[in-house]
Symmetry: C2
């Protein structure tokens, strides 16, 4: 997928919503547990109920690895279902990987080629040669952690030691890497005041924004400081949508929550 195609989908759906498929078997409706693959059945129902309101889905790999082989099978089925039924959707493997060069290549192949996600999240700590293998894939995107939505973001990411914060160094440095046009960045909504500074460094890049809703970030504030000419934002919501109800009406309720967000987004797009 290209960013042009992503932007055109945003215009069509009047939404820049990403739904996080973080499936926890202790939180999904009981009746699904009797099915052969409860995780996939849950995802399929959520996707079926919301695909006209969301432009992106983002399974976090931790929730699948936690169930071992069965979890990986559910992940494979979920991405296959998305790619076959909704090829227009921008898919994100929220994997936060990163390793030395030849090893990063293995991860990149696994997520961008074999599983065929449109993008994968990557941690920046190991630098250039740990990220460039991901950037080598044409029309695929590497979403680099810049400023995350959690409290621990203040441990290192915002540390300055005098000159500038680490997340700014990450943003600036990454712009010089090979195929850097394939970069997007994770920027948490809980730190909306940082968006102005971030847009000075990466005015045109898409930003994946977690932390709206459950984690307390404001959609309006994020858009005020972070939106650019082609929107440039993917706002993620996971728990607020997928766990809106634990009953048999879970998909319907998820749609209601997604619709609320889509309406807010439509208003902000005007």
């Amino acid at each position: 997928m290209t960013t042009e195609q992503l932007y055109s989908q945003i215009q069509q759906k009047k939404s820049f919503l990403c739904i996080g498929l973080d499936v926890d078997l202790t939180k999904i409706p009981q009746h699904l547990l009797a099915t052969e693959d409860p995780i996939f059945e849950f995802n399929k129902a959520i996707i079926d109920a919301t695909h006209d309101l969301a432009v992106s889905y983002k399974p976090n790999t931790a929730f699948y690895e936690a169930y071992g082989l069965k979890g990986w099978m559910s992940l494979e089925k979920t991405i296959k279902y998305l790619n076959e039924k909704h090829p227009e959707i921008f898919t994100i493997a929220d994997a936060k990987r990163g390793d030395i060069g030849n090893t990063s290549t293995m991860y990149a192949k696994a997520f961008l080629e074999d599983l065929n996600f449109d993008s994968v999240t990557v941690a920046p700590y190991m630098g250039k040669d740990s990220v460039e293998p991901f950037l080598a894939f044409k029309d695929k995107f590497t979403i680099l952690l810049a400023l995350t939505s959690n409290e621990g973001a203040f441990d290192f990411q915002t540390k300055t030691n005098g000159e500038q914060e680490l997340y700014k160094t990450v943003l600036e440095t990454s712009k010089n890497w090979k195929n850097s046009e394939n970069l997007m960045y994770v920027v948490g909504a809980t730190k909306a005041e940082y968006f102005t500074e971030i847009r000075k460094i990466v005015p045109n890049s898409f930003l994946l924004v977690p932390g709206v809703g459950a984690q307390g970030g404001s959609l309006k504030e994020v858009c005020k400081y972070g939106m650019n000419d082609t929107v440039g934002l993917l706002i993620n919501s996971s728990r607020g949508i997928i766990y809106a109800s634990a009953g048999e009406d879970f998909a319907e309720k998820a749609r209601e929550e997604a619709l609320k967000m889509q309406h807010e987004m439509e208003a902000l797009l005007k």
Copy 2:
């Protein structure tokens, strides 16, 4: 496992060698490809041939994820084999994970509880609440990336911005986290001159040291500056040992290479 048990194993075997099980199907002997699970068969043969010379084995998860479901099955079989046949061995899941709190808990459970590794490598970028869920497991270890062996380490890890390098801030900050006694650190052998400074901050911690051999690090230099009273080092070698031969004698040749390293280590322990 406790660090006392690890130290006693080191004394017994006169070795602090960790063997990296980074299995690439294009590099293993051809005859194994006809077996049902070539990755596991390869690992089993390597383990059988070297377990008296190594105190630790470290599968890098990238090499298993690259083969999808089959790869995960091979990883499960490998750790199960190690735990059943060689419970004295210190096992490391080289996964370089890290996410917000509740998500890191899923990763921690997957690797330290379900797969039952003794330890897992974790990236520090997301800070305290991304690492503490791993530290909560008793007699399990979290091996935090401090200074890695690749070139990209100079992009952020050694950046100072005036006061001190990022990797030192990571080392110092992590000492204040809950259950920090369960921390070990990754420090690349390619930067032996840094070990003196590192030992000032974490004199007692075990350091997992990649980069000896193929990547050019010197075992002697690392020991000179990095060894402490209880050795405190696990030296990893992957390609140099496991791919010593691509023929039917691969396990035998791997043993020869491991034996060379064990002899060097025995001399350095005196």
